[in-house]
Amino acid sequence: MKRYVQVIASHSEDGQVTPLAIKWEDGRTFDIDYVKEARRATSLKVGGTGIRYLVTVSGKDTYLFYENPKWFVEEKVVEMP
C-alpha cells in the first residue's frame, strides 16, 4: 500500500525540492540524513509514478516518493527498537 506521510522539505529558489524529515502518523519525526538520488520513477511495489528520492534515515536506505502534491513511502520507514 502507498502510505502517505507528512514531509518537511526545502524548496530552493530554482525549484529544487529536498525532503528533510518525515513525520510519522504517531507523531514521531525521522530526520533524513542524506538524499542519495532523486529521479522520476514508477513504484514497482505500490504503483504510480513520481519523483523518487533514495533517502537515508537512521542509517537505512528507503524510497520516498513525491507524487505531486502528496508524499508516500512504500512501507515503514524504519523499525524503532
Binding site: S43, L44, T49
Partner: protein
C-alpha cells in the same frame, strides 16, 4: 540525407496505465470499459492478458466476460491516461524537439540531428524504452527506420516491449513479405480492392505498375505505393509541448454522444442536437473562428450510420444558428419515431474562417444576429466562471438523463490523421 525516425507505440496503453497505477492488477486480464449504465459498455482497451482470451476492442463488455469470467473491468480514467501520455512525451523531448503525436499513445520522433549525440538512433530507442519502463512503469514497442511509414510498421511488427530496426538491407524481407493490411492506411476496404488486383503483400504493392494503382485508387494509389516502397518523405511535425501536442491546424470542430437511451421522438432529438451544437459553437468561439459547413452524423440502433451536411450562406459561430442548421438536417432525414430509433448523434462544424476575416454583409442583415452573438458571449462568460452546466437551454432539461452530461468538459477530442496538409 538519410533520416532517422522512431515510432514509439505504448503497448495496451490505457490498460497498462491502470496496471502501472495499481500493481495488484499486473498480470491479470483487464479491460478498460465505458459505462454500462450509460450504454457505452464496450471494451476500450485490453491488457496483454485479456488479449490472450481473444477479447477484442469495441466488443460489448458482456461478450468479453463470456470469454473470460475473471475479467477485471476498470472504468476509463482519461485524466490518468493523459498524465502518463504527457509524461512519456516529456521523455521524448529529451532527445529531440521533433515529436509528432499520433493519438495519446503513439508518436514519431525525428532524431536525425540528435542521433550522433546519443550514440545513434537505436541507442535512443533503447534508452527511451528503458526510461519509460523505469520511470512510468509502462512498456513500449519502437520502430526505427528512415521514414515514418516503415518506423510505424516496425513498432507494430513485434510487440510488446521490442525494438525493430527496418533498414535498407532488411526491408524487403520484413516489410515486403507482410500482408498489405499491415501498411499504414490500408484498411479493410482498401485491402479488399487490392486483393481483387491480386496484391496480397506490401512487396507486390510496391512493384505493381503505377498506372494500375492510379486507375483503381486515384491519387491515393500513388501515395500507398510510395509508402510501400519506403519513399515517404513526409516530415515529423513538431508540436508545442505546452499544448500537450494535440493542437494541429484545426479543420473542424465536432461533438457526438451515444444517448443514454434510444431517441425516438423529436423532443429528445432536438435536445441532444442543441446540446451538441452548444458545445461545438462554444468551441468555435473559443477558437476565434466561424464555420460555414454544418454536418450531422446519425447512428440508428441498428448501428448503421451516415452523415449529412449543409453549407450556410454566411459563416457563423452562433449556437442557435449551428443548432438550427443541424436540426433541419436531422429533421429532413429522420422521421424520429419508433420505427427507426437513434442511438447516437454528432454535430460537426467545418470550413472554418477566422473571426477577424472580413464577412460579406447582406443588405437585409438581421439585427437579431448581433443580439444573438451578444447573448452567446454572455452565456460563454457565465460558463467560464461557473461551469458548463450553470446555464442550460430549456429544451435540454426535457430529458432527465441528459441533464448531468457536460459534453464540452467530458469530451476531449484527439485529432489524428496522416493526410492533414
Amino acid at each position: 540525407m538519410r533520416r532517422w525516425i522512431l515510432h514509439v507505440d505504448q503497448n495496451s496503453f490505457y490498460a497498462s496505465c491502470e496496471q502501472a497505477e495499481h500493481p495488484e492488477l499486473r498480470g491479470k486480464p483487464l479491460v478498460v470499459g465505458g459505462s454500462e449504465e450509460r450504454r457505452h459498455g464496450i471494451v476500450l482497451a485490453r491488457s496483454l492478458e485479456a488479449k490472450r482470451y481473444g477479447i477484442v476492442t469495441a466488443e460489448a463488455l458482456w461478450q468479453a466476460r463470456n470469454k473470460c469470467p475473471d475479467l477485471i473491468v476498470r472504468p476509463a480514467n482519461f485524466r490518468l491516461y493523459m498524465k502518463y501520455s504527457s509524461l512519456a512525451r516529456r521523455i521524448y523531448y529529451d532527445y529531440t524537439d521533433l515529436v509528432e503525436p499520433f493519438g495519446p499513445d503513439e508518436a514519431w520522433l525525428d532524431v536525425t540531428h540528435s542521433a550522433y549525440l546519443n550514440g545513434g538512433a537505436e541507442m535512443i530507442a533503447q534508452e527511451i524504452s528503458e526510461r519509460i519502463r523505469s520511470e512510468l512503469g509502462l512498456s513500449v514497442s519502437i520502430g526505427v527506420s528512415w521514414n515514418k511509414v516503415f518506423a510505424k510498421f516496425g513498432s507494430d511488427y513485434k510487440k510488446p516491449d521490442a525494438i525493430t530496426h527496418i533498414n535498407e538491407d532488411n526491408y524487403q524481407q520484413i516489410v515486403w513479405q507482410s500482408p498489405v493490411r499491415d501498411l499504414l492506411y490500408v484498411g479493410r476496404a482498401t485491402e479488399r480492392k487490392l486483393h481483387v488486383l491480386g496484391i496480397k503483400t506490401i512487396g507486390e504493392l510496391a512493384n505493381e505498375p503505377a498506372e494500375t494503382l492510379l486507375k483503381c485508387f486515384g491519387k491515393v494509389g500513388g501515395i500507398l505505393q510510395t509508402f510501400a516502397r519506403g519513399l515517404d518523405d513526409s516530415p515529423v511535425k513538431a508540436y508545442d509541448l505546452e499544448s500537450e501536442g494535440v493542437n494541429r491546424i484545426i479543420k473542424s470542430y465536432g461533438n457526438g454522444l451515444t444517448a443514454p437511451h434510444d431517441i425516438s421522438n423529436p423532443h429528445d432529438a432536438k435536445a441532444l442536437i442543441y446540446m451538441l451544437s452548444e458545445s461545438v459553437a462554444q468551441r468555435l468561439r473559443e477558437g476565434f473562428v466561424r464555420a460555414r459547413t454544418i454536418s450531422i452524423g446519425v447512428r440508428g440502433n441498428d448501428l448503421e450510420s451516415y452523415t449529412r451536411q449543409t453549407t450556410l450562406s454566411m459563416p457563423t459561430n452562433s449556437t442557435s444558428l449551428v443548432a438550427e442548421a443541424a436540426w433541419q438536417l436531422l429533421a429532413a432525414n429522420e422521421a424520429l419515431d419508433d420505427n427507426h430509433p437513434l442511438r447516437s448523434l454528432s454535430v460537426r462544424a467545418s470550413d472554418l474562417s477566422l473571426i477577424s476575416d472580413p464577412v460579406q454583409l447582406s443588405f437585409w442583415s438581421d439585427e437579431r444576429v448581433a443580439a444573438r452573438e451578444r447573448l452567446d458571449n454572455a452565456i460563454d462568460d457565465l460558463r467560464r466562471r461557473f461551469g458548463n452546466t450553470c446555464i442550460q437551454r430549456g429544451i435540454e432539461l426535457y430529458d432527465d438523463s441528459l441533464r448531468q452530461v457536460d459534453i464540452k468538459r467530458d469530451h476531449v477530442l484527439h485529432p489524428v490523421g496522416f493526410f492533414y496538409d
